[in-house]
Structure formats: C-alpha cells, structure tokens
C-alpha cells in the first residue's frame, strides 16, 4: 500500500483501480483508510456556492494535494473542515469523530491543524514565542498555574528544545529572537508551518505553503513534508506549483467551482478531461489549440504559461490569474 501506484497506471487513459482506493477511482471515491470523510458539505456566499462537495475522503498517512483554479473553493473547504467557517449543510468526521459544528480550537486539539493562505504570524512576538505557542497541553497556560514558574518550567524547556529543533530544520534558527514581524513573507510561511508542527498534528493542512518561499528552500521544504509522512503525519495541502504537486503527493484532489471534479494519483489525474476543463476555464488567455494538442501534459503546460505570463504571481502566491488576488485579500 505504501508503494506509489505508478505501475498500475496505463500509459494512456485513466486507471480505474488504485491501492489507496476502495472501488473505482473517481471524484468522491472511497478510500481504504480515510482520515477525513466529508459528506454533502456546502457553503453559500450570497448567490455563489463556494463549496459544494458531495463526498470526499482524504487518505491517512499520505500526502494529498488539493488543486484547482483560483476561486475553486479550496480555502473555503479548509475553513469549513477546521471550524473557521460554518457550512450551510454537511457533516464530516476526522479520525472517526464527527467534527461538524465543533469550534476551531477543538478541531486543532483533536489533531487537525491548519495554516493560512494569508500568513498569520504573530508580529510582536518573537519567532521562538510564536513556536512555543504551538505546543499543546501547556500547564503554564492555565491562569493560576502560570503564576508559579516551577510548575511549568520543565515543560517549557522541553518545548523550547523541540522548537529550536524545528527552527533549525526550517532554517529559522538565526531569527529565533527576532520579532516575527521582521521576517520576510516566505519566512513567515515557514514559521507558520513550523509552528503548526509544534503540536504534532495527525493531519496537517497547508494552504499554499510554498507561496513566496524561495526556490532553494522549496526543495528542503519538500523534504520536510515527505519526512512528515514518514513520521506518520497525514498531509493535505493546496498548491499551485504543479511540479511540486507531481513530485510529492500520493493523491490529488481537483476542485473547480466548489465541486470535486476529479481525483487520482498525480501521474494520471492531470490527463482527466474534467481537470483540463477546469483549468482551461481559468485560462481564457491561453491558446486553446495549443493546449488541446497531444502535449506531454496540458495542465502542466497551462500552469507553465500562466507563470510565464505573470511571473509575479508565483512570488505573491496568488497562483494563476492575478485578478483573483483581490478576492483572496478579503478573507482569512
């Protein structure tokens, strides 16, 4: 089950079976060992159905990529699953426990921790303090115990050691004592991810973790994410960089206009006509004829062209079409 399923994929066309999947591969397919199961989750903003997911399962212990054009509802889906937003309908469970209607902090405590597309570093706390805030079950966070340092000193030292270890891995150790506000955008992304890891989550949900991180560091970050999997953490991440998606994910879920339009292993999902449709919808400016040709991968090509056309998009992290950036600013 742990091997990559590349061999099962025929050279052309879409495979119908996969070791992660129970039954047939397709949008909303059941997984052998799911950690998250969502059912008929919808979220309406005025007339717009931002999320309309009939059924979705996220495999346990795997790296799952959630992709889709801007405005597809990926961030909204994150917000719903983690209790930061309330759906109009729907239920979902995490690790067998229903989380519908559970407040965000309890979701995090149950082992499902998320990061934000627009980073939320705590500016006027030091990088180390940011990290320590991520640790769970701290005795010193209780009002009365906090007054007596001996009660929490030892735990604080252990947490500090863990934090230093993570900071070193994320190349932030030199910034340990600096205010988080003094970090660059990419460093804040790293800090937010490292901080989320302080709680040793079972499932970590990363919303565009690589946006704004410089390419050299991206490589080592990819390594960290893979290591997370080795340690048994499940990963769900939103990413626009298709090379990264291809490189590290075991499973890819594609959303468009609020729906899950395709699912599959990374090698084949990009060939799914529904995915090509979804991305073409987002690239009105791309030459359709060229995309429809039997290229190596139409979606990858579309992504590449978009990045060439708008090189700043990668730096700011707003994926494909810059006009959508304004929308992203308005919400968490």
């Amino acid at each position: 089950m742990s091997n990559l399923p590349a061999s099962t994929a025929p050279a052309s066309g879409i495979p119908t079976a996969h070791p992660l999947v129970k039954g047939e591969v397709g949008p909303g397919c059941a997984k052998v060992d799911p950690i998250v199961i969502a059912d008929s989750v919808t979220r309406q903003f005025g007339g717009l159905k931002a999320v309309d997911v009939d059924h979705l399962e996220i495999p346990r212990g795997k790296i799952t990529a959630l992709i889709g054009p801007n405005g597809a509802g990926k961030t909204t889906m994150f917000n719903l699953l983690t209790g930061f937003d309330k759906p109009n309908t729907g239920t979902w469970e995490f690790d067998g426990k229903s989380l519908a209607g559970v407040p965000a902090f309890k979701v995090a405590r149950s082992g499902m921790v998320r990061t934000f597309q627009l980073t939320k570093s705590l500016g006027r706390l030091s990088v180390l303090q940011n990290m320590l805030l991520g640790a769970t079950d701290q005795k010193g966070e209780k009002l009365f115990a906090s007054l007596f340092r001996p009660l929490w000193k030892k735990q604080e030292e252990e947490n500090t050691a863990r934090a230093d270890d993570l900071l070193a891995r994320f190349k932030l150790d030199a910034k340990r004592e600096d205010y988080a506000a003094s970090l660059s955008g990419g460093q804040r992304k790293l800090l937010e991810m490292a901080r989320a890891l302080m709680s040793k989550p079972q499932l970590i949900m990363l919303d565009e973790p690589m946006a704004g991180v410089n390419p050299a560091l991206t490589q080592s970050l990819l390594g960290h994410i893979k290591n997370l999997k080795e340690d048994g953490t499940s990963v769900l991440f939103v990413e626009h960089d298709m090379h990264m998606v291809m490189h590290i994910s075991d499973w890819v879920v594609v959303m468009a206009e609020g729906r899950v339009v395709a699912e599959g292993p990374p090698e084949t999902v990009m060939k799914d006509p529904a995915v090509i449709d979804a991305y073409l919808g987002a690239h009105h400016d791309t030459d359709l004829g060229e995309l429809m040709e039997d290229g190596p991968n139409p979606v990858l090509e579309a992504e590449r062209k978009a990045h060439e056309a708008h090189p700043e998009a990668e730096a700011t992290g707003y994926g494909d079409t810059p006009p959508a950036a304004g929308v992203e600013e308005t919400k968490r």
Partner: protein, 325 residues
C-alpha cells in the same frame, strides 16, 4: 507666586492615593488593551462598581473583607455581562458595549429611585470606619516637608501602593508565562491562536475579568480619601486612564505607575502655576474655573503629542510598536 507650595503639592501627588488608584486602573486596562488587545472604553465603570460595591455594604454594616469581596464579585459579574455577548465578535463590539455600559451604570446609580442605596447625585460618604479601624499607625501626623500626613492618610497611601505593587508583580508573573504568551498572541491575531488549539474566548474573558477586578479595587482605593461621587465616573475618567496607560507604555510593567505619577504631578504643577499667575495678575483674563479647564485641554494636547511623537509610551519598545499592523 509661592513656588515652594506649588512644587510641594506637585511632589505630594507622587504618592497620593489618587495616583495609586489611577495607576492600578491603568494596570488593569493594560491587561485588557496592552496585552490582550481588548478595546475597553469603560474602565470608569469598573471603578464605579468597585466604589459602590464597597461603600454600600460597608454602610449597611458589613465588615471590611466582606465589602471588598462584594466589590470584586460585582466587577466579575459586570465583566461577564460585558464579555459574554461581545468577546466572540469583532474587537470593536466590545469597545461600543463598554462605553455604553459605563454610561448606563453611571445613570443607574444617579437615579433618584435608588437614593436609599446609592445616594443618587449626592453619592455616599461615611464608609471609612472599617478601613480606619484596622489602621495600625497611632494617631498623629508623620513625615517631613510636603510628605506630612495624618495617620489615616498614611494608611491609605501605604495600602494603596502595596496593592499597586502586588498588581504589578501579578502582571509580571502572568506575562512572562505561557498564559501571557497566549493573550499576547490573541492581541496579534486571534485566528492564528485559535488554529493552535487555544480557547481564545476563554482567555479573553479571563483577561477582561482580571483587568476589571483591578479596576474595581482601584475604585475602592480612589474613594478611601474622599466620598463617592457619581460625577467622578464619566467617560472622562476612562480617557484619563487611557492617557496614563499610553503615557507609560501599554504593555509594560512600570508604565502605568510612572504614567500615573507624571499625569498627576503635571496636573498639579499646571494648576499651581496657572492659579499663581492669575493671582499675581499675569493671566488676568482667566478665571480660576477656566484655569481648571485649561489644564484638561493641556492633557488632551499632551495625549495627542504623545501618540504622534512617542506612540510606544515612556517604557514601551519602539521596535515592538513600529510593527503594529
């Protein structure tokens, strides 16, 4: 002009019980705003509740401890009433509710219907007995120069400043702890703190209660040298406390104390100098009543200059503030 007298009065303000009371109220507000980011524009209400919560039971014959506990309990209840509906909402809701609630309680204690309990507009007096009774200092006057006070006056000062110091130690211990880290995190971005599994609502409530209790104790210290006067608890009082907190530095340990000392010394100096100048005819166009008002105009100007030129206050960290988002 009698400069000796003017300066004598001014340095006397350094240790006056009023200075202690304002410092304590500013320490409480510092927990709210400086550390947790709560916009409390009704700190005057906590002082009012402390004052009446202490004076009413005392006049009804309650022992000192009971009266103090009553004042504290009332402020805890008041904090819950303010916090339960607003702390789940955006920060500005608390600001609106506190400013309105402070006015409501002031009007309530002023209504003639409650004259038997609150004394309505006349307020309350004659509640100092229980506090004076435990004064260990023998009768007489003590001290030197401008610091010459009666036994009771010393007792109020000692108790007031000991409480201020204890409150400062409390804030120091809290804010170096993981608890303090959580509330400071909430000040920066409460969603981030939520995403890390902290019950943000509960921490905001704890902070609101704690700062409110300090405000109510400040209210008790404030009335020990005087009578309870409802007119003292206007929004003006709240803004003086804000001035003091910002003057010293909102998220600092010594800021509220030094801020309060400077505030009262400067008020006393300007009063002395203005009155002196009026008496000697140098400012013949002003009456002494007008001079009293001019002082508070100066306070407003000083607050504006402060926010423009030293927004972090005296003790605040410039770097910390310059990052404010």
């Amino acid at each position: 002009m009698d400069w000796g007298n003017i300066f004598g009065n001014a340095v006397g303000e350094l240790i006056s019980p009023t200075t202690a009371a304002y410092a304590l109220a500013a320490i409480g507000l510092g927990i709210h705003f400086g550390y947790t980011g709560l916009l409390n524009f009704g700190q005057a209400a906590f002082l009012l509740i402390g004052a009446y919560g202490f004076a009413i039971p005392t006049l009804a014959g309650a022992p000192l401890v009971v009266a103090v506990l009553c004042a504290i309990l009332c402020s805890v209840i008041f904090a819950f009433i303010l916090g339960i509906p607003t702390l789940r909402l955006r920060a500005d809701y608390l600001a609106i509710v506190t400013i309105a609630a402070a006015e409501v309680v002031r009007y309530v204690v002023t209504t003639t219907g409650l004259t038997d309990f609150t004394g309505a507009a006349n307020g309350l007096s004659g509640f100092k007995g229980t506090f004076a009774a435990i004064n260990p200092i023998p009768d007489g006057t003590y001290g030197f120069g401008p610091f010459t006070y009666s036994s009771y006056d010393w007792w109020v000062r000692i108790v007031g400043w000991v409480i201020v110091i204890l409150a400062s130690v409390l804030v120091f211990l809290l804010m170096r702890s993981p608890w303090g880290r959580v509330v400071k995190g909430i000040r920066e971005d409460e969603d981030a703190v939520r995403s890390l599994g902290k019950n943000v609502y509960s921490y905001k409530m704890q902070s609101l209660v704690l700062g409110g209790v300090l405000g109510s104790v400040a209210g008790i210290i404030f009335i020990l040298p005087r009578a309870v006067q409802p007119a003292n608890y206007t929004t003006g009082l709240t803004f003086f406390i804000w001035t003091i907190m910002l003057l010293g530095g909102a998220a600092t340990i010594f800021g509220p104390i030094i801020g309060s000392m400077i505030f009262w010394v400067v008020l006393s100096l300007t009063q002395g100098i203005l009155y002196g100048a009026i008496e000697s005819g140098a400012l013949g166009f002003l009456s002494t009543t007008q001079a009293g008002q001019v002082r508070f105009i100066l306070v407003g100007v000083a607050l504006m200059l402060l926010v423009i030129f030293r927004p972090q206050g005296i003790f605040g960290n410039k770097k910390e503030l310059s990052f404010s988002v």
